[in-house]
């Protein structure tokens, strides 16, 4: 067609990104407890947003500065927010899935919380 091959590559990257966003949302619906939902949701949505903006760099080459800046912001903020969220959910003792096999954080967390609050 009239579009160049680079633009079509970019469009397919955006499509793959949107599929990842969809899969993340599907995981949010299907997973059994909070921690699994955090894991699927934020991982897949980070990759999906990354691929979307990266595809837009191919389609609109003159916008690359702001798009790269946005990608850096996403890669910096999204894992931090999921970490803080998971820690808060552990802290208020949200019930885990009943088939959970092992809780490695549990023993360390007790000691850690006690020690650090004494230090403050």
């Amino acid at each position: 067609m009239e579009n160049s091959i680079v633009e079509i590559i970019g469009a397919f990257l955006v499509l793959i990104g949107s599929v990842f966003l969809f899969l993340g949302a599907l995981g949010l619906v299907r997973m059994p407890d909070v921690f699994n939902r955090i894991q699927t949701g934020t991982k897949a949505s980070t990759l999906g947003t990354f691929l979307t903006f990266f595809g837009l760099v191919f389609i609109m080459p003159e916008w690359w500065g702001k798009l790269i800046l946005l990608i850096i912001f996403i890669l910096m903020t999204n894992p931090v927010s999921s970490h803080v969220l998971a820690r808060a959910a552990y802290c208020i003792k949200v019930p885990m899935f009943k088939k959970t096999v092992i809780d490695l954080y549990g023993k360390d967390a007790e000691k850690l919380f006690k020690k650090e609050t004494k230090n403050e």
Binding site: M76, T77, H83, V84, R87, C91, E116, T117, N119, E120
Partner: protein, 232 residues
């Protein structure tokens, strides 16, 4: 049952009023007389690429002064009512913040403040302006309060910045009266080349003052709320 039927009747009445409104609705295709004047003469008279900025700062600059005054009043009232009376000096036992959040905040807070400054300096070229930039600066400082609860910012510094920028805003308006057409006229130091950073006369200077003022006021509100959590 009777109550539900009553609510249902009210809903039907509201729906009938709305149907009449929607049926008579035709979109405003043409601009009004005043808006037409602004769009036609704005770039030549004010020299700002963003028409909204031209209207907010120059044509309706007096309204902006009123908004800033309202914000100042609300910040002062919050500070007055949430006075700290922590007599027994008990330290609060906060849950510690994690290492990851701490490091991320050290990277992100300067970037957010820089982005806020970018938004209000570029107010005459891109969307945004003093109010939005000030809000972004205040949210960056709030992120710092959350991630590092031990860090102190004095109320005094915030008050000084707020007062200086408020006085500067009014002085720029008076300079408009002396050297140009009227209060808050921006044609004080020449319009410059259209569409560059140093253009549109006094608009960037006024926006710097507005941004600093809004940012320090919102930060002051958040800070007094945070310090007030100590009391039982």
């Amino acid at each position: 049952m009777v109550k539900n039927a009553f609510i249902f009747l009210i809903l039907i009445g509201v729906a009938m009023i709305l149907v009449n409104l929607f049926a008579g609705f035709t979109g405003n295709v043409d601009l009004g007389q005043i808006a037409n004047h602004y769009v036609a003469n704005g770039p030549a008279e004010v020299g700002s690429a963003n028409i909204v900025t031209a209207v907010v700062v120059t044509y309706r600059g007096f309204d902006t002064l009123g908004e800033v005054t309202i914000l100042f009043l609300s910040a002062a009232i919050v500070g007055f009512f949430l006075k700290i009376e922590n007599t027994d000096n008990t330290e609060r036992n906060l849950k510690y913040t994690s290492e990851i959040l701490n490091t991320a905040s050290q990277v992100l807070v300067p970037i957010m403040i820089l982005f806020g400054v970018y938004v209000f300096i570029n107010g005459h070229l891109s969307p945004g302006g003093g109010f939005q930039g000030g809000a972004i600066i205040a949210s960056g400082l709030v992120l710092m309060f959350i991630a590092q609860p031990k860090k102190e910012i004095g109320h005094k510094l915030i008050n000084i910045i707020e007062s200086i920028s408020g006085v500067g805003f009014v002085l720029m308006g008076l300079a408009g009266v002396l050297f140009a057409g009227g209060f808050l006229d921006n044609n004080v130091i020449g319009l410059g080349k259209f569409g560059t950073l140093f253009s549109a006369g006094a608009i960037p200077i006024i926006y710097i003052f507005v941004g600093l003022k809004v940012g320090s006021e919102l930060t002051g509100i958040a800070l007094s709320l945070k310090e007030n959590q100590n009391e039982a």
